[in-house]
Symmetry: C2
């Protein structure tokens, strides 16, 4: 983490964009021996706007020297935890695009071993930072919702649960209304099709435990509601106690303004 380098790149990346509206940029710099590698990324899009238009577009630039195979593998791994873990309304677009452009201008041989792994960690973090900005900028959104699933038997189970919760209009309206509605969340986990024992499921919202080992527990509902209303991000933590797979998925809440925007839009 090189504060000045990152600030300078962030500023350069912002300069490329012609508008400040919904600007989504991120930058990183990493020192590896005598080389400094820089990464900058930018994204546009906040939902499936229309299939003849560009929807989600993101470009990540780096001066790191990378072989073609490592560049593709590094990006694919980063995407799994970032751009494939976000939704606004769950309507998949026909033409989302993410590009990694690696110039090699930092010099030296293509990265390998620990240096490659360090680069991959930075790339993954940058992609997550950028991807999270998309539901944050979702149409009409008043909250970003982070859905963290821990202790799943497999990553696929964790993903199904997180994605199903993210797609639930009832969960998304509950967060919009500041309602710590554990029932809507655990029932969505239940119909996700993931394999887990409902009697081992626990749920916390913004650090407050609402549901433990398959049963609702007493909690301070007004304080939890206040915490939802007063924070841009609502954090849902589901603990399954089935294994060690984990995932975090980000989505937007569902508001009256989302419906207005999409019902008033005409082709």
């Amino acid at each position: 983490m090189l504060g000045d380098e990152e600030a300078s790149f962030l500023s350069a990346a912002r300069g490329i964009l012609t508008t400040d509206k919904g600007v989504k940029v991120a930058a990183r710099a990493v020192r590896l021996g005598d080389r400094t590698l820089r990464l900058a990324g930018m994204a546009k899009g906040a939902g499936m706007i229309g299939p003849r238009m560009a929807t989600m577009l993101a470009v990540v630039l780096t001066d790191a020297p990378l072989s073609v195979v490592d560049a593709q593998d590094s990006l694919s791994a980063a995407v799994a935890d970032s751009f494939n873990c976000i939704s606004v309304e769950g309507h998949m677009s026909t033409n989302d695009t993410l590009l990694l452009l690696a110039s090699g201008a930092a010099g030296g041989a293509p990265l390998a071993g620990d240096a490659l792994r360090s680069f991959q960690t930075e790339l993954r973090e940058l992609c997550i930072e950028l991807a999270r900005m998309i539901p944050d900028d979702g149409e009409g959104a008043t909250h970003r919702i982070a859905i963290e699933v821990r202790g799943a038997a497999t990553r696929d189970d964790a993903y199904r649960i997180a994605r199903t919760i993210a797609d639930s209009a009832l969960v998304k309206t509950a967060i919009a209304g500041g309602d710590p509605n554990w029932g809507r969340i655990v029932s969505a986990a239940g119909y996700s099709g993931a394999d887990f024992d409902p009697n081992r499921l626990s749920l916390s919202i913004n650090g407050t435990r609402l549901y433990q080992l398959g049963q609702p527990v007493d909690f301070d509902a007004p304080a939890t509601s206040r915490s939802i209303r007063e924070n841009r991000e609502t954090h849902l933590l589901l603990e399954l106690d089935q294994g060690s797979a984990t995932i975090t998925f980000w989505t937007s809440d569902l508001t009256v303004d989302y419906v207005r925007f999409n019902a008033d839009y005409h082709t």
Copy 2:
């Protein structure tokens, strides 16, 4: 179809319900030789309201003489095309219930052969009639949307396409806004996971062809929009030209009032 018998049963079924709000009842009578069989059904529910409450409840009564096995088989077959083909917001409930109570009071031996098939047809039609009333009564709904998929290779493909379109917030807001937005509909079919050739897909809304063999076609957009706005039901017809499987799925549109209702509700 015996008009007077059905009217009399419908009136009796309504009499059982204690409120006129969102009353969902249906009745049928069928003459089989010298016997008249009567069926009456009633349902409540218009979405996943809360997991500790009853949500969708439906009861069908008949005086038909039925063996236990035939009663269960007849109901299971009817459910596949009715209560399993509806959604409001797609959030599955923990406790939907549908019961068939058969008294045998019409007399005679348990139905078999053609008589059983006639009964099953009436039961299926009654369940469809009843099931369609649920999204029609959906929270905040201004339209019922009928999604008919024809020409799929398998029933599962047809179901996936219909269900994915029914779950799309972008499709549901488009109908709420009277927008004949073919792009949102065909892109939802595309990400449904069903197996079909997109170049053979055609789409009509309320009888107007918008999209043919994978391409948009010229159509009268203002007239189609007017037809959506002026009718309670919007009919989406997707023709796949892949086989002979067909399905119809019913859902509600997504309105500002839906969000208000579900965001303002507090546990």
